[in-house]
């Protein structure tokens, strides 16, 4: 445990230090420290309104923090514009789906590869840039969307739409994948498929994944490390088992009485 902590502190792939986000007089997140180790799946959980999505949007640079520092791969990204994230290898998905609704699944994923699709003039002018198309087709297959490649994104059911978001994010060729509630609204079978895909991305592709998630079934099964937020501050951090047993976590989720019961009984 201690050794693991030290390793994470030595070279955290993504490091959040003293992150504070205020909206007017309201402090949404106050002084959050969080280190995400390379090649791990790290989950950010907490009750509604805990500041998870706010933190997530700061890391993906859609919000700018009031205070604190975010470093990624040894580089300070705190003030970089959001559009530069893709080029750095940081991809994100959106909680409420931000698909290119009128475009086909193929085109959605191809736009994900935007930063790789313009190496030569010929590629930039092509509807099917070399090297990129094969990868896009592979990602579509990997996310189980081959049958829908030419379907408009808006005509898919919710589960498939979520998969398009992930395929499109993967087309960025990310080193860090940020997923905002990828399992929300999915059926059990779909959650199982997502579980398999995310583990495969960690094991086979060496991806680092940070996810905000409410679906505990997924979080507990795949996360190497979990950070728990409540009212904008970190109340616990550790492995699934540690977090599950942590009194502050039980209290935050189930209330004080439940926490006392758990402690005594």
């Amino acid at each position: 445990m201690a050794a693991e902590d030290m390793a994470a502190a030595a070279a955290p792939f993504l490091n959040v230090e003293g992150l504070t986000i205020r909206f007017g007089g309201l402090t949404a997140v106050g002084g959050l420290d969080m280190a995400v180790a390379k090649g791990s799946i790290h989950a950010l959980i907490g009750p509604n309104g805990a500041g998870k999505s706010t933190t997530f949007n700061c890391i993906s640079r859609f919000y700018t923090p009031s205070e604190g520092r975010i470093t990624y791969d040894g580089r300070d990204i705190t003030r970089l514009p959001a559009r530069e994230m893709a080029g750095l290898g940081i991809a994100r998905s959106f909680q409420n789906l931000e698909l290119f609704a009128e475009l086909t699944v193929f085109e959605n994923v191809l736009i994900g590869a935007h930063v790789h699709a313009g190496r030569t003039w010929r590629d930039a002018l092509s509807a099917r840039p070399r090297g990129v198309v094969e990868e896009v087709e592979h990602l579509i297959e990997r996310t189980g969307l081959t049958a829908y490649a030419q379907t408009k994104a808006r005509n898919l059911d919710f589960g498939h739409q979520k998969m398009v978001e992930i395929a499109r994010a993967l087309a960025i060729r990310p080193k860090l994948l940020l997923l905002d509630e990828p399992a929300a609204g999915l059926r059990n079978r779909e959650i199982a498929a997502l579980d398999t895909l995310l583990c495969e991305l960690r094991e086979r592709d060496g991806l680092t994944i940070l996810l905000v998630e409410h679906v505990m079934q997924l979080v507990m099964s795949i996360s190497d490390r979990i950070t728990v937020l409540s009212f904008g501050t970190k109340i616990a951090e550790g492995t699934a088992a540690e977090v599950r047993a942590h009194p502050a976590v039980i209290e935050a989720y189930l209330g004080r009485e439940a926490a006392q019961e758990a402690a005594h009984g």
Binding site: R83, F94, E102, L103, A124
Partner: protein, 327 residues
């Protein structure tokens, strides 16, 4: 948006359906044969329609691809007309250079206006571009030393080396060629990485940003390109017209082109082209009854927005598909 069989082409799927291919072949044959069996007036109308096709392609880039409204396209068209006419008069070079100059000037003004106006969106953007269009018309009508003001400007005949174009029939093959060139250009842009960025910005700005697309820059480039194509249409106008008057570059022209693009089908190149042809013909017929013209345009525009928001061709395509499936 592209549920018509024709509209599937720009989405990168190879091959058009047989019926569409036959239709295209027929249209091509008709286009080539036209000057041999009709009068000068019909060829004049054909020239005008081809210019409107290019003007619609310009508006399609900004509305259909990037999803921004522009009420200023008559102004960019006008800039193209004046700039190429003046360049043609000033320099003894083949006319395509004058056309290129017209497109570049319109494009440059478009980039500038885009950079200013695209800070706004929706109704504010529409109003800002409308104001620019009105201001430009005022410039055309009052900058006497350059545009000859309210008297209008004579356009010298276009020259291609020793060949001087003096009639509509002579101009027709050139107008047709430049129209095809503009169609080719628009198709290439639409299928390219830039075209995909346009549509990404249209569909979701935040997602586009997350994909590494510079949203603001993409919108401004789209606006500039769109203005350049409209300016190029202005240069084509000078191939067969001998005179331009500021009155014909006002809001009515913007509305006409807007109607063509919307009625033809938002978001589809082939819809914009079809809309230009169908609506160009209708407007020519309506010339007999100018007092009702605006009412009829307005009614058609409203009916389409209510009952066929994806445009004429998507509407017809859907009806055909329904009929085939026996519904």
């Amino acid at each position: 948006m592209s549920s018509s069989p024709l509209a599937s082409a720009p989405e990168g799927r190879p091959g058009l359906p047989g019926a569409a291919l036959g239709g295209l072949a027929l249209a091509a044959l008709l286009a080539v044969a036209l000057p041999f069996f009709t009068t000068g007036y019909v060829v004049y109308i054909a020239n005008l329609l081809l210019v409107f096709v290019v003007l619609c392609l310009g508006l399609h880039i900004v509305i259909g691809e990037t999803g921004q409204f522009s009420m200023a396209h008559a102004a960019f068209y006008g800039i193209g007309i004046y700039a190429s006419a003046l360049a043609n008069r000033a320099v003894d070079l083949p006319y395509p250079f004058a056309m290129l100059f017209g497109a570049l000037v319109a494009g440059a003004v478009g980039l500038f206006i885009g950079a200013l106006a695209l800070r706004m969106r929706d109704i504010y953007l529409a109003l800002a571009t409308f104001a620019f269009g009105e201001a430009m018309q005022w410039v055309f009508a009052n900058w006497d030393s350059v545009t000859n003001g309210p008297n209008g400007l004579r356009i010298a005949p276009a020259r291609f080396g020793p060949l001087e174009i003096l009639s509509d029939k002579q101009a027709y093959p050139f107008v047709l060629f430049f129209c095809l060139l503009a169609i080719g250009f628009t198709v290439v842009v639409s299928r390219s990485r830039l075209g995909r960025a346009f549509r990404a910005v249209r569909e979701s700005e935040v997602a586009a940003m997350a994909m590494g697309i510079d949203v603001r820059r993409t919108r401004v480039i789209g606006f500039g390109l769109s203005a350049a194509v409209a300016g190029f249409a202005g240069g084509m106008f000078g191939l067969f017209q001998t005179f331009i008057h500021p009155d014909s570059l006002g809001f009515q022209t913007t509305i006409l082109v807007l109607t063509m693009v919307v009625v033809g089908g938002l978001g589809s190149i082939w819809g914009a082209i079809g809309g230009a042809i169908v609506f160009g013909l209708i407007s020519e017929v309506l010339r007999q009854a100018p007092q009702y013209q605006e009412i009829i345009y307005g009614a058609i525009l409203m009916l389409f927005m209510m009952y066929a928001p994806h445009g004429l061709f998507a509407f017809v395509g859907e009806r055909i598909r329904e009929a085939r499936h026996g519904r």
